[in-house]
């Protein structure tokens, strides 16, 4: 198994055979060569990274791969080995602390993953073994086992369906958690196997595991006593995928073909890779700069030391002679150890504690997301979930949002909204009263309380009841339901409410349910006859003669039925564009208005027409259909020709409006995201029409948006091959969207000006053609064209995507120029790969299981929460962490610079300026808490303002606070202050008699004065930056300063028995007894902060402006959003194509 995995990892398929042979039920087959139970991997799903055994070494290895940790390890080792100015404890202790904290955190996270894995792996399933059923843990299923699955259970591995409880050998499956399609799919048993499973002796030959969900090729050999083995072909319709759910079928038996990590679901997962935030990359870049500073400092000092020593009498004055050992040491070795000593002395410039603080900030900060009550959804009683705290700040940097459609943008819950019969509007308000439901009348027509004639009404409703391919769900435990339907009125509605329908499209169910609300109930299809219960509770029966199937080109479907009285009727429903030309023109006008208005509101509209067929007409149609169906060649074309012939001269009876309910505030959220400068791409496995209408409803596409389509349909061209057409279209779109477009200002994606908006649509098949063109050479050109077009479109819709294709798209954008930060949001297992691929993956705690949530970085209950997550939390976290990082580098620079300068005054002898306690405590105790509090609590702009002004998000786009300019500013500030600290005290010490008793101060007093100025300055600098002073900030800032003073007294107030040198004894207290020391501390602090205060003040003239502007801006924003939410509703009309069909 290991090798197999290895093979897969290395992509080396040479050793592998092309197919695998599976013995059903592990029964040896008579005919074949000796039964060799081949080795397949077990059914365990592993998403965790560590085990108990390898945790320590692996985790340590991972941690020391981090450049900073490795650096500190080296410093620590140098301190242990070489005689250095500071003890190993000063750097060993913090390092140990960092490593431990990180290890605990990662261990805990992996523990959770183990738990989740176990939940899946230990799930009990029934396996048929030697003629009896055995309960087994899911992970123990082996390839070849015959597994029993009951209704509503998910399949534990990939199975070939052998037997179903349904008579016709089918079963229904929903693959919602795999590809996002929530409709029921029919799968078939292999012929000849459904009987007598125990006696079945068969082998299955099938291809090796591959990730394509819709492809499967295999063969089954069935051996029967004294007969030639029968061979049956196997296709995807026989394969039940792990992760799919059995529906409407009591139980099935299947044989496991792919297990564990080889299932198609697992293959569609992508390996978990550690996600690193862009901020971390900036940190690493800064780190390198500081490393260079550090090394050059050490080099300068080492050089100077030897230059200085070469002078007569300087190297070894009589008062400071060397030991014999030192004299004997090789000169170059000495230089090297001196260099290392300087490195150790200055190593504090690289802030070890920054990593601890950043980790803590991220870890603690993520609680604010979990705690946010705005993320709490009362429906599922859950709030947001944070799986990785490493990416908090990345939420403030998102440039591309990839969203799933089903269940993310929409609720995947169709609802019948209204219908229009003969020009009169019927709006169903609630189900309580039929009469109420019909009173709502069309205001536009100004015919209050008028209705269409009773006859027309009923005709329309019958049409709704008949014109579909819906099946009634067989009531599971309620066996008697169908019998009771005829029963007493009182209980009827309740029972009907519970009635479940199954259809390939949720729209159809919505229509049937809609008709039910108006009193016409579809009871089911039994042996070619459809039963309807009408308003008078009479059962009407219709004989179903023909179904003229839906297809996306015709965009309509029809049924031909025969009433009891012998009339033959054709009902047709379809998109207005395909119905209107086929009905009498005078009928159209009355309906069109309604249809257009409904479409404007984002509903899916359908028109219903009917036609009475005379006997001759029917006979002709019947013959035509039968002939066409039997045709061997061009069957499709012939059928369509007949369909088109039949569906003419109909009369329009009405229209319906069905709403695929968007998620709450989906449109507002999308608008906010676009306002914040993000580009939204919709990636869905769904049909193009459906997806497009959703995009309109979410206002991703607007009325003025010009759609650039690149789909299978647009590629159809008589003249050209698909490949050529693709290129041609790409060129054309590129011309339109990229070359002709006026240069857009960076960061501004949606302007409300007259600029043409473009929307781009591509489907899965075209995408794969684009990604893997027959000519390898074209690939990069295509890709770059495609990317450029997409980058200039306000919204992009990719439909009919396989999960891996979604990830491919994300990857392509992620790796494009400028490597933008991407975010994926989805709710189903089909989104997992893209969630994992994107920089930030967001899972929605939707209905489609927990796969997405488990693999996401953040999980939120609803789409609408994304707005606050990005605009408020993301923005704040970014600002906080950016400030944290810059501040850390700054404060360590001005911490170490005086120590560096001191080397020029002590003969470059590596004499530390500060006491060891100060060196160690500076980052850990004295200055760590204020910045941590700041980085958790700072709100430089109020959350409400952030939410109201999406545009504020753009201010921090492109890592604005961690670019080189701000970094340079902070560095210059640090250098300025460091120089000031050192030389200020230096000039004071030109006369070290600083006390009024004439006594002099020594070197430790010098260091302590510098250090006091330093601690106060950096803390007050942070206080100046703090815009949001909660009591915690007050407590921590003033508390840190008080603690410093207290600690210094304490540290200098006692003779510490464990210290070999009591060098700081009473130094601090003595310092405070000197007026001059006080005065120099005060003036140096003020002088260091002066530029900062001046900057704040100089910005002041703009200050009142911006401060006044902010509220007004928010008003503008508010107006804008209210305008924009109002405007499309009133003004948007859909192009023909935007009206979805079924």
């Amino acid at each position: 198994m290991l090798r197999r995995r290895l093979n897969r990892l290395c992509g080396g398929d040479e050793n592998r055979v092309d197919s695998r042979t599976i013995y059903v039920g592990h029964r040896p087959c008579p005919d074949t060569e000796a039964f060799i139970p081949s080795k397949f991997c077990d059914n365990r799903i592993v998403s965790s990274k560590y085990t108990v055994w390898n945790f320590l070494p692996k985790n340590l290895f991972e941690q020391f791969r981090r450049i900073a940790n490795f650096y500190f390890l080296i410093i620590f080792l140098v301190q242990v080995i070489v005689d250095t100015p500071t003890s190993p404890v000063t750097s060993g202790l913090p390092l140990f602390f960092v490593i431990t904290v990180t290890a605990i955190k990662q261990g805990y996270e992996d523990c959770l993953r183990h738990k989740a894995d176990n939940e899946v792996n230990k799930y009990l399933v029934t396996v048929l073994e030697d003629d009896r059923s055995v309960k087994k843990e899911s992970e123990k299923i082996k390839v070849g086992d015959v597994v029993e699955v009951v209704e509503d259970e998910t399949f534990p591995c990939d199975l070939i369906l052998l037997e179903s409880s349904r008579e016709d050998g089918t079963c229904f499956v929903t693959t919602a958690s795999l590809d996002g399609e929530s409709n029921h799919k029919t799968h078939y048993t292999v012929q000849d196997t459904e009987k007598d499973l125990q006696a079945l002796t068969a082998t299955i030959e099938c291809e090796q595991p591959q990730p394509d969900l819709y492809k499967f090729v295999g063969r089954m050999h069935i051996y029967k006593a004294e007969q030639e083995p029968a061979v049956r072909s196997l296709g995807p319709e026989n394969l039940l995928l792990k992760g799919a759910t059995l529906k409407n079928t009591k139980k099935i038996y299947g044989v496991a073909v792919y297990t564990g990590m080889e299932t198609k679901m697992a293959l569609n997962y992508q390996g978990k890779s550690q996600k690193r935030s862009a901020v971390e990359k900036s940190i690493n870049a800064f780190l390198l700069v500081y490393l260079c500073i550090l090394i050059s400092k050490a080099v300068v000092c080492t050089t100077l030391k030897y230059v200085w020593q070469s002078k007569e009498g300087q190297d070894e004055p009589w008062y400071n002679q060397k030991t014999q050992k030192e004299k004997d040491t090789n000169m170059y070795l000495k230089m090297f150890t001196d260099f290392l000593s300087f490195m150790v002395l200055f190593n504090f410039i690289i802030p070890v504690s920054m990593y601890v603080t950043v980790e803590m900030q991220k870890f603690l900060g993520s609680f604010f997301i979990t705690w946010d009550k705005d993320f709490f959804d009362s429906e599922i009683e859950e709030g947001a979930l944070v799986n990785t705290s490493d990416l908090n700040e990345e939420l403030g940097q998102v440039e591309y949002v990839f969203t799933d459609k089903t269940g993310t943008l929409t609720q995947n819950n169709m609802e019948f909204i209204e219908c229009c019969i003969d020009g009169f509007q019927y709006k169903h308000r609630d189900t309580q009263s039929e009469v109420d439901g019909f009173t709502m009348t069309d205001g536009v027509m100004n015919k209050l309380h008028q209705k269409a004639g009773q006859e027309k009404e009923e005709l329309f409703l019958r049409a709704l009841c008949l014109c579909h391919t819906v099946q009634v769900k067989e009531p599971g435990s309620k066996e008697a339901l169908t019998d009771q339907v005829d029963g007493i009125d009182g209980i009827l509605p309740q029972l009907e409410e519970e009635r479940g329908f199954i259809a390939s499209s949720p729209d159809e169910i919505a229509l049937v349910k809609g008709a039910m609300k108006y009193g016409f109930t579809f009871l089911g299809l039994e042996s070619k006859s459809m039963k309807i219960k009408n308003r008078e509770n009479n059962i009407e029966e219709y004989k179903l003669l023909h179904v003229l199937n839906f297809d996306p080109v015709r965009r309509r479907m029809s049924v031909i039925v025969q009433t009891k009285s012998g009339e033959t009727l054709l009902f047709c429903k379809g998109a207005d564009s395909s119905i209107f030309p086929r009905v009498k023109p005078e009928e159209v006008d009355r309906i069109r208005m309604h249809v257009e208005r409904n479409a404007t509101e984002g509903y899916r509209t359908l028109c219903v027409a009917f036609k009475q067929l005379s006997a001759e007409e029917y006979a002709m149609a019947d013959k035509g259909l039968s002939d066409a169906r039997l045709a061997l060649q061009d069957r499709e074309e012939k059928l369509i020709a007949v369909y088109n012939q039949v569906e003419t001269g109909m009369s329009l009876i009405g229209a319906t409006a069905v709403e695929d309910r968007l998620q709450e505030e989906a449109a507002e959220t999308m608008e906010a995201l676009q306002g914040a400068g993000m580009k939204v791409w919709v990636l869905t496995g769904d049909k193009m029409e459906t997806a497009k209408s959703t995009c309109y409803a979410c206002r991703l596409f607007q009325r003025g948006t010009e759609l650039l389509e690149l789909t299978v349909r647009t590629l159809e061209d008589e003249r050209l091959k698909r490949q050529e057409k693709l290129y041609e279209l790409l060129q054309e779109y590129h011309r339109k969207a990229v070359q002709d477009a006026p240069p857009v200002k960076a960061g501004v994606t949606r302007s409300w000006s007259a600029n043409q908006d473009y929307g781009f649509i591509i489907d899965g098949a075209t995408l794969s053609l684009l990604m893997n063109p027959p000519l390898e050479a074209d690939a990069s050109q295509y890709k770059s064209l495609f990317l450029q077009i997409c980058q200039n479109c306000t919204a992009v819709l990719c439909c009919r995507m396989a999960p891996l294709q979604k990830a491919q798209i994300v990857k392509m954008v992620k790796n494009s120029k400028g490597s933008p930060i991407t975010l994926s949001i989805g709710d189903g297992a089909n989104d997992v790969s893209m969630i994992l691929e994107a920089h930030v993956g967001i899972g929605i705690k939707g209905k489609e299981g927990r796969q997405a949530v488990r693999n996401s970085d953040y999980a939120i209950p609803k789409l609408k929460h994304l707005k606050k997550l990005l605009l408020a939390h993301g923005h704040l976290y970014y600002v906080r962490i950016a400030h944290l990082v810059q501040y850390f580098f700054y404060k360590n620079l001005c911490f170490i610079l005086p120590q560096f300068l001191y080397q020029f005054f002590c003969g470059c002898s590596q004499q530390p300026l500060y006491d060891a306690a100060y060196l160690t405590m500076y980052n850990i105790c004295f200055t760590s808490m204020p910045i941590l509090a700041y980085s958790l609590l700072e709100q430089h702009i109020d959350i409400e303002i952030l939410l109201d002004n999406a545009a504020l998000y753009r201010e921090i786009a492109n890592n604005a606070m961690l670019r080189w300019r701000p970094f340079l500013y902070w560095t210059v500030l640090g250098i300025f202050q460091g120089l000031l600290f050192f030389f200020g005290v230096r000039f004071l010490f030109s006369n070290p008699a600083l006390q009024d008793n004439g006594q002099v101060f020594g070197n430790w007093s010098y260091g302590t004065i510098v250090f006091t100025v330093l601690v106060f300055t950096v803390t007050l600098k942070l206080a100046l930056d703090t815009r949001h002073w909660t009591w915690i900030n007050h407590f921590v800032i003033w508390g840190s300063l008080a603690f410093y003073v207290f600690f210094s007294f304490f540290w200098g107030g006692i003779i510490w028995p464990f210290l070999k040198q009591q060098r700081l004894y009473f130094v601090f207290a003595n310092m405070l007894s000197s007026v001059s020391a006080w005065l120099v501390i005060i003036i140096l602090i003020l002088l260091s902060l002066l530029p900062e205060i001046l900057l704040v003040v100089l910005r002041k003239p703009r200050g009142p402006h911006s401060r006044q502007k902010k509220p007004s801006q928010s008003n503008v924003g508010g107006n804008q959003s209210s305008q924009s939410s109002a405007r499309p509703l009133l003004m948007r009309t859909f192009s023909d194509e935007s009206n979805p069909v079924i």
Binding site: G313, P317, Y319, N320, K322, T323, Q324, F367, D372, K373, F375, E381, E382, G383, F905, C906, S909, Q910, Q911, Q939, G984, R986, F987, L988, S990, N991, P992, A993, L994, Q995, D996, N997, G998, Q999, V1000, F1001, G1002, N1003, G1007, R1027, H1028, W1029, T1030, I1032, K1060, Q1061, Y1065, N1070, S1074, V1075, S1076, L1079, I1083, L1087, I1093, L1094, V1097, K1100, P1101, P1104
Partner: protein, 342 residues
């Protein structure tokens, strides 16, 4: 029970968890900044003037007695052959040198802040722990043992290099020398003398025998227990000159307090007249190009003479005042333009 569970699922609705803690959002408005700057500026100017004037009143007399120049009185002491050398530096005061006068010695190009030098002492020895007399710490090397491998107490480079020039000050009145009493008490930090450094307990009533088995530092003329035989409280590790020396200077050019002139006729200061300073010249500095000097100075509340602090305060103070005026002008302008806008 169920309610409780639900409550635990629901995030706490507290100001802290919702990031809605009441907060003070300071706005550095011109109304605060301008008067603030003005007040700070004026205060600094005041302090600066006080500092500057105080610094001006402090009298300082510095004399280099290294003897590099041929005509300097101590030139003859610079030759290494001259083991015990005395030289005499004369000076005259035209006015009263207000007392109390502090007598410093100063060294330059002398690195007491070498790292190896700085750690080269044994604090356990210096707290009087005789256990460590026999086995000095490693850091004391090469000043831990003499050539016969006897342990040195006090060990280490700092102690070994203790400044050992001594001075006597005479006022010359009508050709006769009148000795100026020099007060050697209270020249070291109180805590150093009283807490940090301790002498070993006398053995059999003899302080010297506590040092049995050890030798004096090589450069010292006499052992630690003989530093001041006249005053047992100023002897051994508690010798104030020793303590002053052990507190390392911060910079290579430094001065250390040698004596105070507080007694007798000189309690109010050194009157105008001629003085002669007798130097017992022992301490070699020329090998590393060092200089030695003596400094007479009086002190004020701010310590010794230091013009830097006063000037710094004056500069920053006037800077603040100027800035507040500039800001006032800028602010007035912008305020008007703001009004125009509105």
């Amino acid at each position: 029970m169920k309610n409780e569970e639900e409550a635990s699922e629901r995030p706490d609705n507290t100001a802290f968890t919702q990031q809605q803690l009441p907060a003070w959002q300071p706005v550095l408005s011109a109304g605060i900044i301008i008067p603030g700057f003005l007040i700070i500026g004026l205060a600094f100017l005041g302090i600066g003037i006080a500092l500057f004037l105080t610094s001006q009143t402090i009298q300082v007399l510095e004399m280099d007695y290294t003897g590099v120049e041929k005509d300097s009185p101590c030139f003859r002491c610079t030759s290494p052959s001259n083991q015990t050398c005395t030289c005499e530096v004369t000076f005259s005061l035209s006015t009263l040198f207000t007392g109390p006068v502090f007598f410093y010695y100063g060294l330059s190009n002398y690195f007491q802040n070498f790292r190896k030098y700085g750690v080269s002492k044994d604090d356990y020895q210096l707290t009087g722990d005789t256990q460590y007399f026999k086995s000095p710490r490693d850091v004391c090397f090469p000043y831990a043992h003499d050539s016969k491998n006897n342990p040195i107490v006090p060990c280490g480079a700092i102690a070994s290099s203790m400044f050992n020039d001594t001075f006597e000050l005479y006022q010359i009145i009508n050709g006769t020398k009148k000795k100026v009493p020099l007060d050697g008490k209270g020249i070291s930090w109180w805590t150093d003398y009283n807490i940090k450094y301790r002498n070993p307990l006398p053995v059999n009533g003899s302080f010297a025998s506590a040092f049995d088995g050890t030798v004096k530092p090589i450069n010292w003329p006499k052992a630690a227990y003989e530093l001041d035989l006249t005053d047992p409280n100023n002897n051994g590790f508690l010798n104030q000159d020793f303590l002053v020396w052990m507190r390392r200077a911060a910079l290579p050019q430094f001065r250390k307090l040698y004596r105070r002139i507080t007694e007798g006729d000189y309690a109010t200061g050194l009157p105008a007249g001629n003085y002669s300073l007798t130097v017992y010249y022992n301490y070699p500095v020329l090998s590393f190009d060092g200089r030695k000097k003596v400094v007479f100075s009086n002190v004020s509340w701010m310590g010794g003479k230091n013009d830097f602090l006063g000037i710094a305060y004056l500069v920053v103070g006037s800077l603040c005042v100027v800035m507040s005026v500039v800001m006032l002008i800028v602010y007035a302008k912008f305020k008007f333009s703001d009004d125009d806008d509105a």
